[in-house]
């Protein structure tokens, strides 16, 4: 009981204080730009739990999901192929490094011209931005494979697909997960801003539209939606990572304990 109470206090203490301070500040000196928290909450439900959920929120999430899944799959597949071959690695490294360093949002104007402002372009830009952390981390993870494991595989005659499946991928998994962790926020950024150019739907479009029409509480509620979405993605990732890397965390705990 005491434990539960203290958990409750620690979890909700600061958020409650912060929201109270916000409320206090907006009550003492009302500001057009900063509506009180109660108003934002009411607007949040009014704005997003209606047709907007189907028109703006879900299509955005769908595009984000499709984009990052394609980026992860392509990133791991290409990463394994490139990582296993030293010459291929040397061939692709400078080019890949350039694309990793290129801030992905600058790709939006040319892709708008080449593909047009449709779903394919928005998904493509998410893939193009999110693939690099996964790809380069996979290459690095595969390259740094334990040499004893490599030789064991060779002497046991484990080749080709089964070597990738049972030795290379598990060995590189912690690094691949680190890449996936980096790719999710980038995908989210590109999801939002790809909807800010020449479009009429989507979360990014909606919050910009609210700002342009000075619908301030709606704008704040949109920021809240994006915040919740980011938080949701982080929670899903953590669950996913724990499952995939359960053996790895267990191993680490053992090593730390010894």
């Amino acid at each position: 009981m005491r434990k539960a109470l203290s958990w409750l206090g620690f979890t909700f203490g600061l958020p409650v204080i912060l929201i109270f301070l916000w409320w206090l500040a907006t009550t003492i000196s009302p500001s057009f730009f900063f509506p009180p928290p109660g108003e934002i909450l009411v607007t949040f439900f009014e704005t997003w739990f209606g047709p907007r959920l189907w028109l703006d929120v879900l299509p955005s999430i769908l595009r984000f999901g499709i984009g990052v899944i394609i980026a992860m799959v392509l990133g791991v597949v290409i990463g394994v192929i490139v990582g296993l071959n030293r010459d291929l690695r040397a061939l692709t490294e400078p080019t890949f490094e350039f694309f990793r360093a290129l801030p992905a949002p600058v790709l939006i104007p040319p892709l708008l011209l080449l593909i047009g402002p449709n779903d394919a372009m928005k998904i493509f830009i998410i893939v193009l931005a999110a693939i690099w952390p996964v790809l380069l981390n996979t290459v690095e993870g595969v390259r740094a494979a334990d040499s004893v494991q490599n030789e064991t595989s060779r002497s046991y005659g484990i080749h080709g697909f089964s070597r990738v499946r049972y030795q290379v991928l598990p060995g590189a998994a912690p690094q691949i997960m680190a890449g996936i962790r980096q790719c999710l926020p980038i995908g989210l950024i590109l999801m939002v801003i790809s909807e800010m150019f020449n479009t009429t739907a989507g979360l990014g479009f909606a919050i910009i539209q609210f700002q342009r029409t000075f619908a301030i509480p709606e704008m704040w509620s949109g920021i809240l939606v994006l915040g919740l979405l980011g938080y949701g993605v982080a929670v899903v990732f953590r669950f996913f990572e724990r499952r995939v890397l359960r053996w790895y965390h267990g191993l680490k705990d053992l090593e730390n304990a010894s």
Partner: protein, 281 residues
């Protein structure tokens, strides 16, 4: 680092052999890398020449690269580069100072760490681009609009790493410091700071890349002056070769920032095992 126990002559020989193999591979690696870039440029040229993509919208590199050199000679281009780097550097510096101070204060107190945990975990994944409308409302086209986005994005990257770093401090070292009569400030400077520095540098490297993305994004979407705004201007004016030339320039800026971050990391951590170990083994 001295040879760890259990290291035999065979491993020493194997390490030396691997190192010489790496060295003899170096020229081949450079040639292959250059070939890779060439192949990419040829594919681009081909896509544009043989109508895979609309050549109006995808001018070939033989047109874009000369344009890049023309752009480099224009004063306005360097003004835009300066504005981009200025916003990037200022935003990163503000984020760094805030993150280090808050990270050390919160990291050193178990109470504060627990107390702020839920808030940090909620605010951290909020995509900073969600703040674009707010930035426009509050600051319009001024540089503060870019700064709000850059600081928000860069802050969390560094802050989280500082928290990890402070949590990693050896309790025995801290207790030793206390029994030797170190003051609180001395303990922070001589025990906490060196332990947290590698983490801080990792955070700074990640934050530097994210800050550039946000600086360019702000310029593209809000229109704060800089390279992003120039790209949009070139696109609106139908000067597509210039647009691609400016994109190449932002890519090179990104590479410079990545390289700078890596050099800084090596220089500040030259004493640390992770860097020394790489150099010797």
């Amino acid at each position: 680092m001295t040879a760890p126990t259990g290291q035999t002559l065979t491993t020493t020989v194997a390490v030396a052999r691997a190192r010489s193999r790496r060295r003899s591979y170096r020229p081949r690696r450079a040639i292959l890398g250059a070939t890779g870039i060439l192949i990419f440029l040829l594919l681009w040229e081909g896509a544009s020449r043989f109508g895979l993509a609309d050549p109006r919208y995808l001018p070939p590199p033989t047109e874009v690269i000369p344009r890049l050199f023309q752009v480099l000679a224009i004063g306005d281009f360097w003004v835009a580069v300066g504005q981009t780097i200025g916003a990037w550097a200022l935003g990163l510096a503000i984020a760094l100072i805030l993150a280090v101070i808050l990270g050390v204060v919160i990291g050193l107190s178990p109470f504060l760490r627990r107390f702020t945990n839920s808030t940090v975990e909620f605010l951290r994944p909020v995509p900073s681009v969600a703040l674009i409308p707010l930035a426009v409302l509050l600051f319009g086209l001024r540089i503060e609009a870019s700064l709000l986005l850059i600081v928000y994005a860069a802050f969390w990257q560094i802050f989280i790493q500082v928290l990890y770093g402070v949590a990693d401090v050896d309790t025995v070292a801290m207790a030793t410091g206390r029994s030797y009569g170190f003051s609180k400030w001395q303990r922070i400077r001589d025990i906490v700071f060196p332990t947290a520095l590698p983490y801080l540098m990792t955070g700074l490297r990640l934050a530097a890349a994210v800050a550039l993305i946000l600086a360019i994004t702000a310029q593209l979407i809000i229109g704060t002056p800089g390279l992003g705004a120039e790209i949009l201007k070139a696109q609106n004016g139908g000067q597509y070769a210039t647009m691609y030339a400016l994109m190449l320039a932002t890519g090179f800026l990104g590479i410079l920032i990545n390289m700078g971050a890596r050099i800084l990391e090596r220089a500040t951590l030259s004493w640390h095992q992770s860097v020394r170990g790489e150099a010797t083994a």
